[in-house]
């Protein structure tokens, strides 16, 4: 039982990270109806930027780890956001209105470019980061039942949930969020009402990329090792999370992320750690076959 709950905690931590990446997929899909295949690489880039930024800042911040982490977080978000903007400008905007396959191919091109760029710039070897946030709390829940949660897990959880909440608020309440939903529902009409649709689409890529950048930083801290190839697997898993939750649905992406994280962690704990990725892909195939609209996807019952 203790073991089970421990795995649940680990799974939720991982799932929160997947959820953060999945938001970017689902948001971009909602607004332009296409999967951003370069999104996983943005996350990988976020991991590297955060590593470099953290090392730089911790050497100049005079020993304050918290300060260095915060600065690294900001730098990571800014740079990944910038990359999100570049990807949209390079791979998607010139091809809007082109056959749907064209932007997919150009996005895959961008992702190969990013992978190779990082491989050349940073080397192909795995980059380690010594544990930065150590220790944790142990909850004693009666006889022979205790759970340990690391501070790092708490940081990851609090940060991702805060970002998700802020993001949800932004979509629901701000004028940018409203413009995003309007653009998603009817791009032509939004333009007729004076919405600068290009800017809204750009903003969507930028926000999604910044969230993926945070996820990249969290993974760097959590696992302590990264390489230029992590974007691929994480990308597919987060994509699975988005599909599982219902592509286009924001709560769905978060829920899907948590479920994928849980699956992965419980599967590794009880079955076989080698096949943990297979479990995720089995879910992807299963959802696509039996419930393509996902758990919270909208059933499309409107009149219009």
């Amino acid at each position: 039982m203790e073991y089970f709950f421990q795995q649940v905690i680990n799974g939720l931590t991982l799932g929160a990270i997947y959820g953060l990446i999945a938001l970017g997929y689902t948001m971009v899909y909602g607004i332009i109806g296409m999967i951003n295949f370069a999104h996983g690489e943005i996350y990988m880039l976020g991991a590297f930027i955060s590593l470099v930024a953290f090392l730089v800042f911790s050497s100049i911040s005079g020993g304050s780890v918290a300060l260095a982490l915060l600065a690294a977080l900001l730098v990571t978000m800014v740079f990944t956001a910038l990359w999100g903007w570049v990807v949209e400008r390079m791979a998607y905007r010139p091809l809007r209105g082109a056959p749907r396959l064209a932007p997919l191919i150009s996005a895959i091109g961008v992702s190969i470019l990013l992978q190779n760029f990082v491989q050349i710039a940073q080397g192909a070897r795995v980059k380690p980061l010594p544990p930065v946030i150590q220790g944790g709390v142990t909850l004693d829940l009666g006889a022979a039942f205790s759970l340990s949660i690391s501070w790092l897990q708490i940081v990851i959880f609090v940060l991702t949930l805060t970002l998700m909440a802020g993001f949800t608020w932004m979509i629901a309440r701000t004028s940018l969020g409203r413009a995003q939903r309007a653009t998603e529902q009817d791009m032509k009409m939004a333009a007729l009402l004076g919405v600068n649709v290009d800017r809204v689409v750009s903003a969507t890529f930028v926000i999604g990329a910044a969230l993926a950048g945070v996820a990249g930083m969290m993974v760097t801290l959590y696992y302590g090792v990264i390489d230029f190839y992590i974007g691929f697997l994480a990308g597919i898993k987060a994509f699975t999370a988005a599909v599982l939750g219902g592509i286009g649905s924001l709560p769905g992406a978060m829920l899907g992320g948590l479920l994928i994280g849980l699956t992965e962690s419980l599967w590794s704990a009880y079955f076989s750690i080698q096949y943990k990725d297979v479990a995720t892909f089995a879910i992807l195939v299963g959802v696509l076959l039996f419930r393509p609209s996902g758990l919270l996807g909208r059933p499309d019952v409107e009149k219009v």
Partner: protein
């Protein structure tokens, strides 16, 4: 207010407008009638920059707006209640109206909302209802109300009476007259319902396969035998006025 000169436009290689000239003066209601497929919707959309004109000129209050992107044309004070209404289905009525006010000064929002809800009290009772679940008539009111939220100088209305019960059609036309008379909004109105449109309009144009076939005051066209035969007297949309 609005002047269209020698406008050509279409979809890909298909040309739908073959040199349109119309003008709409400040404070007028101008009607545009014509059979299905004549190009009325294409004309309104081309004025809004989507599709782009392939030749010709559109000026709004003397400024050339041809070739501007759609959202900038809207910001010049041109609002559009398009064919099919295009309500945002998964937004509430209030949010749809807020979208209409996207380009307006936020300080005016309360006033504009009150003004629009005064015209369409039905919307006021349904502010939290999702747009996609409104009835056809309510959606039409919302489409017009949404367009008015930006305080436009010129309002383009594309078949506001389509699919509505006769009573609601009358209401809608009365409201268009009110908007024009009391709020000074200039209106360019596309209609299949030629009788209502011509009775309401100061001037009107008849469109036939991408060209303006006939122009005149609303009363003149109402009494024109050719128009009567083709668009009134139960012959609505059945035939076409000859271009010659």
């Amino acid at each position: 207010m609005l002047r269209v000169e020698g406008l050509y436009s279409g979809y890909g290689r298909i040309e739908a407008l073959h040199g349109i000239d119309i003008d709409v003066r400040e404070g007028e209601i101008v009607a545009l009638i014509g059979a299905n497929g004549a190009g009325k919707t294409t004309l309104l959309m081309t004025i809004c920059g989507n599709p782009r004109a392939s030749a010709g000129r559109v000026t709004l209050a003397g400024e050339d707006i041809t070739g501007l992107p759609t959202h900038l044309i809207a910001r010049r004070g041109l609002a559009h209640s398009p064919e099919g209404r295009r309500i945002f289905p998964r937004m509430s009525v209030l949010e749809n109206l807020r979208m209409g006010a996207s380009i307006a000064d936020p300080r005016h929002f309360k006033d504009d909302l009150d003004r629009v809800l005064g015209l369409f009290p039905r919307l006021g009772e349904r502010l939290d209802q999702r747009g996609g679940t409104l009835s056809g008539g309510e959606q039409q009111m919302l489409a017009i109300g949404r367009a008015l939220m930006s305080r436009p100088r010129l309002l383009l209305l594309d078949e506001p009476s389509l699919g509505l019960a006769p009573l609601v059609v009358r209401q809608i036309f009365e409201i268009i007259a009110t908007i024009n008379r009391e709020q000074g909004v200039t209106v360019l109105l596309v209609e299949q319902n030629a009788f209502h449109a011509l009775s309401l309009a100061h001037r009107a144009h008849v469109m036939v396969t991408g060209r303006i076939a006939l122009s005149g005051s609303g009363a003149e066209l109402l009494n024109n035998p050719e128009i009567r035969a083709h668009y009134l007297d139960g012959g609505a949309g059945g035939g076409a006025v000859s271009t010659s």
